[in-house]
Symmetry: C2
Subunit: 380 residues, 2 copies
């Protein structure tokens, strides 16, 4: 029996460039050889930092400051290091009401006081609402430390923060003396040619933004090649909190060697594959549950967000989906207060595209079968 795994932020396995990486490994190892006996240093392998800068320049027309980049084990370690440095027990952190479950877990581990900001699924965080929240907190003499946001292809909603909102957000960060952690881990997974708005890091004029990125989301979570970019004094402050002696230069050198040659080509191939999967999910949903569900239509990223009927019995949905081996993520995992919202997240890049209609049909059946009303009928 097939598995239909719509869980986890994994890229497409079928466009994984095995041959290209074998070639890149040989090239990187020939070039580095015995110099791999050296420590990579806290900043990590230079070639990888150059790659991060090239990737930024390709999107934003300006390079990144190479010395301010620090390579990490995926964007998750970057978040761990950055948030762990600035957030102490009880500090207030603002984020979209719906956001990445991993960051929420980390923030809860750090015992942060989480404040969710309303958002919409097209333009992202509602910055007017943020302003009201900041005013309100200020009245209570609460000074938030950090705003965590994913402006591009947000997880789980796929929202893209509009340029106006980005500018307004930066102005508020200035006014309220806040640090913004910009998680751009999905930035490169775009299905349309028109670019996302300028990054907060680029727009920032007041050293308010720490930028987090990764190459894992367009290649493989198993390669663990993320990074953060922080200007002084933040870079040093974060490194005072870093004790792993740096990220594998072996893995960095291979990934850098591959993408320095093949970034555009790989993005074209893998984004086309992921886009086709996203479409297959949407088409199947449309032909099965358009009468009872609504969902986002992402223009990039790895996730689709489904609103289920309020009558959905989540335990029954889990059971029925598990019977058909369909995996998905509960919406509550992405809610800053873990509210039991009647939503689910589908990660569409992992399943084979040909299996998607079958898997999503099963999911749709499970959704229908988990409506309290229909259970009542079945029982009656």
């Amino acid at each position: 029996m097939k598995d239909f795994a719509f869980t986890g932020g994994r890229p497409d396995p079928y466009t994984f460039p095995t041959d290209g990486l074998i070639e890149a490994s040989a090239e990187a190892l020939r070039e580095l050889g015995g110099s791999l006996v050296n420590y990579p240093g806290d900043n990590g392998f230079l070639g990888m930092r150059e790659l991060a800068s090239i990737r930024f320049e390709r999107r934003e027309d300006i390079p990144l400051p190479i010395d301010n980049i620090s390579i990490t084990s995926g964007s998750m370690q970057a978040l761990d290091l950055v948030l762990g440095t600035f957030i102490n027990h009880g500090d207030t952190v603002l984020t979209e009401e719906l956001t990445y479950s991993g960051t929420l877990g980390l923030l809860r581990h750090l015992k942060a006081n989480l404040v969710g900001v309303p958002m919409d699924y097209r333009d992202g965080m509602d910055i007017d609402a943020l302003e009201r929240i900041l005013k309100d907190l200020s009245r209570q003499h609460i000074h938030p430390k950090v705003i965590y946001t994913t402006p591009n292809h947000q997880n789980p909603t796929g929202a893209i923060l509009s340029l106006d909102r980005r500018k307004h957000l930066l102005a508020l960060a200035d006014e309220y003396d806040l640090l913004i952690v910009e998680d751009d881990c999905y930035g490169d997974i775009d299905f349309v040619p028109n670019p996302t708005p300028d990054s907060l890091f680029k727009l920032d004029r007041a050293n308010r933004v720490i930028f987090v990125g990764t190459f894992s989301k367009i290649l493989g979570a198993g390669v663990r090649q993320g990074y953060f970019v922080a200007r002084p004094p933040y870079h040093r402050m974060i490194h005072e909190n870093r004790w792993d002696a740096g990220t594998s230069a072996l893995a960095s050198a291979i990934v850098a060697s591959f993408f320095k040659k093949h970034l555009d080509e790989h993005l074209a191939v893998t984004n086309a594959a992921v886009r086709a999967k996203c479409r297959a999910v949407i088409e199947t949903l449309a032909s099965h549950v358009s009468d009872i569900c609504t969902w986002t239509k992402p223009r990039g990223g790895l996730f689709l967000w489904i609103h289920l009927p309020e009558t959905t019995e989540m335990d029954i949905l889990d059971m029925l989906a598990a019977e058909k081996k369909v995996g998905f993520s509960h919406g509550s995992a992405f809610h800053y207060q873990s509210l039991p919202i009647k939503c689910i997240r589908l990660a569409y890049a992992y399943c084979h595209v040909d299996d998607i209609p079958e898997g999503i049909s099963y999911l749709c059946e499970a959704i229908r079968g988990s409506q309290v009303a229909s259970v009542g009928i079945a029982a009656g």
Copy 2:
């Protein structure tokens, strides 16, 4: 002008197995391919854990519990995770009076109360002294949390904790309810065929020992492939503190693929090379400064520890050595209280063997030139 770098715990670059790793990369990537889109998980890549177990069995005749192994970015991240989990601000930690500067830095960062245990350069930590210290602390109602020790080829002294002392140490850990963190990062770098005594982890019968190892020290610090082994409940406790989503499976798969085939062969080649370097250092020291210095004669590991005359002016030594581009580490960096002891550590595996007589001769000249008496004569 040549560099003579006797700094940093780096293995031999000239026996770095470039070709073998290129082959291993191709093999690992062909085998894994698209499955590298998956997260490695907190425990890390299975093949790497299997390798850690094979390595342990080769030395200790028993395998490691695979599910209790967690792959990390070098042994340094293992120490960061393990010590960071168990040590809170003000907790007392016992260690050899002289120990790894990285661990000392980490423990100071954690604001531990460091207590140094006397040691000798042959048999390691003086466990009778440890017992007296534990009694004394107990009288003061101080309950230490952790003993950190490097029983094999200790950094910086090369000491090997004797079997009797290992058994006594475990008995004391039991009596005083202590956790032992056993850092075996140099265990495989042995110049003689007779094995080091059984590891504390193997001898332990009361779940007192967390074992830390690495493949970086016999291959390259740049590969960052360390691990810890902790039995329940410690393994889970440490993972509750781990937020990097695991170590690069790409790097792990390559290193595991290489060592599963070539561990013995590589150790034979690289240990012979490192041994020749160690000998060259000792011979040069013997022919130049045997009248004023003493030094350890390591049977393994990467370090040699030199006692300088008490009349050594360390600033002048630094200056004279720097003029000839000879790098070494100050003894104070390895002292738990950073005392300005008149000792230096040489890491002998990095320099080319043919350059060692020249480099060490310069160092010996610098040692002679930095004696307060000789400065007096030169000035007078």
